[in-house]
Symmetry: C2
Subunit: 207 residues, 2 copies
DNA sequence: TTAAAAATAGGGGGAAACCCCGATACTTCT
DNA sequence: AGAAGTATCGGGGTTTCCCCCTATTTTTAA
């Protein structure tokens, strides 16, 4: 069994490798710290299970997952995150994640995750996830879902503290157009002002 | 030598313990996952060096550091964080931190940190910090500094997406007063709109 | 006890945000 | 060919923000 972990926190990687080797001394574990490193790795090695820190990709987790799914359909992807944001979790599952666990989960959950996805039958969610998942009723969760390229562009400028006028000047479009995109961002994020938008965007990894 | 680590991410804790035991097999390492656990621990054990994930304390790292410093003046405190926010680092040093390292630093930095603060002479900053530190010229850094209790209250309501009017109604004060506090927050955070305020506040751990 | 800081509140005004609406053009997918 | 989605722009409006001031009371610290 070949396992890979991608995380930019060295400590996380070390803790992970230790935990897996303890249970599976014969497993081969590859590590990478970012997106680029991951693809280099995937080209060289046949990876069975990938543990992925989703916060690596600021802008577009969706395209990233798609790329992984299409390029490596057999790959099992387990998201490992410090985010407890539920809509994100739901979205990632829709995008083809096979499992999800928190960095705060005990390391036994890693082993469980490996076993669950190896058996090919079901998706894995850690206990930490499940408790949060059912605490807030995720059923009526608002999907921050998909942002268009232009929306992402405008969101990033909002996050930089730019005003509508400044954004318009930057992108050479009218303030009205910026307002429209802004409104659409509000709708997609289900918020009613910039403060909430910025908060939600940051917590969902758009920074 | 007795070492403690406080972090709510189990993987980080495991990675840390492994790294330290590798170099100091005889060291005693205690762990806690939150603030409460830490104080329970400090009452029972004589800790020499504390590695602390500062993101644990949403509201008030300042009071927290003060409490530690006054209650345990001999304790060496090394902040371990995933935040790369420079003003925060500076502030924490001012508040009596003895060292600072990133979660993305290699584990050799942990050992270096232990050695540096043990020698009692100097503060420790990891290589990761130093490179960032000098990349942006921190000299003219704006200290988000001290927030009054009322300002913290208002900040937290802004972070919840409340409008000036709503905040006034919540705290039973006039909108004008809220506006004043809001202005003062802008000045202290050195920003010019809510978007930047929220972003900076979250990055500096006020969430 | 005096000075400084914090919290309160107001007047007044301009700028930006926010919310309706409708409209056109271009791509993409079915 | 038609529907859906994206991106563009406008009119016209209300609300909120943001900034300039002054000023009083209370709390805190020197």
């Amino acid at each position: 069994m070949t396992i890979a972990i991608v995380d930019d926190h060295q400590l996380i990687v070390d803790g992970f490798v230790g935990a897996v080797l303890q249970t599976y001394p014969d497993s081969r574990i590859h590590t990478a710290s970012d997106e680029r490193g991951l693809f280099t790795l995937l080209k060289k090695e046949a990876i069975d299970i990938l543990f992925l820190d989703i916060r690596l990709h600021r802008s577009d987790a969706r395209d990233f997952m798609k790329k992984l799914r299409t390029g490596y359909p057999e790959l099992k992807i387990i998201i490992i995150s410090s985010l407890s944001d539920l809509p994100t979790i739901e979205t990632l599952f829709k995008q083809g994640a096979d499992g999800y666990l928190f960095k705060s989960d005990p390391k036994t959950e890693i082993i469980k995750a490996i076993q669950t996805v190896s058996e090919e039958k079901e998706k894995f969610t850690s206990k930490g996830i499940e408790s949060k998942y059912f605490a807030h009723n995720i059923v009526k969760s608002h999907h921050p879902t998909y942002l268009t390229p232009r929306e992402k562009e405008i969101l990033s400028l909002i996050l930089k503290g730019k005003t509508t006028k400044e954004i318009g000047d930057t992108l050479f479009i009218s303030e009205k157009t910026v307002e429209n995109h802004r409104t659409n961002l509000f709708i997609k994020f289900d918020v009613k002002n910039v403060a909430s938008l910025v908060k939600k965007a940051i917590l969902e990894g758009h920074l």
